[in-house]
């Protein structure tokens, strides 16, 4: 699992790659905590390279979305892979979280 991030305008684009299992979710949560230390940053999870996500990772996504909403910043998800899309549907995240088909759309 690898996490990279870059600044794109008002957004920090976080790109996790590979299997986001339970240990990886801790790493992701730490990275998000560091990034959200800057209150003005909105966040986009660019999930095009995610092959698997555990429930622990879904919890990190939900907690981040909640935290962003409370702070008045945006939290978006772009280019979900098929397995992640299915998990988002199963867990009812579609319709609650801000999901975009393309990164361009998420950054607009």
């Amino acid at each position: 699992m690898q996490i990279t991030h870059r600044q794109e305008g008002d957004f920090v684009v976080v790109s996790p790659e590979g299997r986001l299992d339970a240990p990886a979710s801790h790493q992701l949560e730490e990275a998000i905590n560091n990034l959200l230390a800057d209150a003005s940053s909105s966040i986009v999870f660019h999930c095009v390279e995610v092959s698997y996500a555990s429930s622990a990772t879904l919890r990190v996504f939900l907690a981040t979305a909640k935290r962003a909403k409370t702070r008045g910043v945006r939290c978006r998800f772009a280019e979900l892979t098929k397995p992640l899309q299915e998990l988002f549907e199963m867990s009812g995240f579609i319709g609650v979280l801000d999901v975009h088909e393309t990164l361009e759309s998420a950054l607009s």
């Binding site: 230390a37 209150a39 879904l58 919890r59 939900l62 907690a63 935290r67 702070r71 609650v96 979280l97």
Partner: protein, 304 residues
């Protein structure tokens, strides 16, 4: 402040009935197999009689435990005594392993000193009938497991499957032994078949031990249950401000879910209670038998 609810221990009467049937079967089995062992010189039948004694003790202990677990939590055991089910399951593991060792020792002895067994017909009849009944009980337990989780019922389903397979194999072996009694090789069939039975028992014991140890060490609920919880939290997305932590565990057939959520500090206690109640009911409805606790956690300080 904590709010909890959504209790329910599944269908204890149905589970108790299932164990009562198994116990009755075990007691009859011990009596009949004891008679068959007395009538025959077959060490295989004698070792099976000893195995039945072990099985009966395990089922009796499980039955008594289940009745004890059904009692309401006391002042001393405020979370109930659901873990007793896991302890009993572990004792079943020990008994099954012990029985497997005894049978293996007997099998080695028979391989080294083959004997022509006689008086095995009552044993064949008993093995055949019990194989059919054992498979039926195992199927019934597996059917129960589809509607409710219980380490005891799970261990019983495996126990009865192993037992029925062993009985069927013993019956077949003794029949072949009688048919080919003039052949020396037929005298080695008993111990060889016993090794298959030993493998069945050890496999079942391992499976029971793995599950029970996980529950005893408070392993978190599986992914399916976790996703159900997340679905509820997604549905109640506007009812809380922060999602801090989700903690889950299982005690017997009872599930425990603890949600640590942040709420607006300016909100009145009445509003927070109403929201907690909505979230709690949502999770309890999605997970029947779950004891759900929502704990308002201290909000993380927001940067200016």
């Amino acid at each position: 402040m904590k709010a909890s609810g959504g209790t329910g221990a599944g269908k204890p009467c149905e589970r108790e009935r299932s164990l009562a049937i198994a116990l009755a079967f075990c007691l009859v089995d011990v009596l009949l197999m004891g008679g068959a062992a007395f009538h025959s010189n077959s060490l295989t039948i004698l070792s099976d009689f000893l195995k039945e004694l072990g099985d009966t003790t395990a089922v009796l202990a499980a039955f008594i435990t289940l009745r004890a677990v059904r009692r309401a939590p006391s002042h001393r055991f405020t979370y109930g005594i659901g873990k007793l089910e896991n302890l009993v399951s572990m004792s079943i593991v020990v008994l099954m392993t012990g029985a497997a060792v005894v049978i293996a020792v007997q099998a080695f002895y028979h391989l080294k000193h083959p004997v022509e067994p006689h008086g095995t017909v009552p044993g064949i009849v008993i093995f055949s009938v019990y194989a059919v009944i054992g498979f039926a009980i195992s199927l019934r337990n597996r059917h129960l497991l589809k509607s409710q989780h219980s380490p005891i019922i799970a261990s019983q389903a495996r126990l009865w499957f192993a037992k029925a397979s062993f009985d069927a194999l013993m019956a077949l072996t003794l029949i072949v032994e009688i048919v080919f009694r003039d052949q020396v090789w037929s005298q080695h069939l008993d111990p060889l078949a016993s090794f298959v039975g030993v493998a069945f028992m050890l496999h079942s014991a391992w499976a029971i031990a793995t599950e029970s140890v996980g529950d005893l060490l408070d392993v978190a609920l599986g992914e399916t249950m976790q996703i159900r919880i997340l679905r509820c939290l997604a549905e109640c997305f506007d009812d809380y401000d922060l999602l801090h932590k989700i903690r889950t565990r299982r005690s017997g057939s009872r599930l425990y879910v603890e949600l640590f959520l942040g709420f607006d500090p300016q909100m009145s206690m009445k509003d927070v209670n109403e929201r907690i109640d909505r979230i709690r009911r949502s999770v309890a409805d999605a997970m029947p038998g779950a004891d759900v606790t929502v704990t308002p956690a201290n909000p993380t300080p927001l940067p200016e």
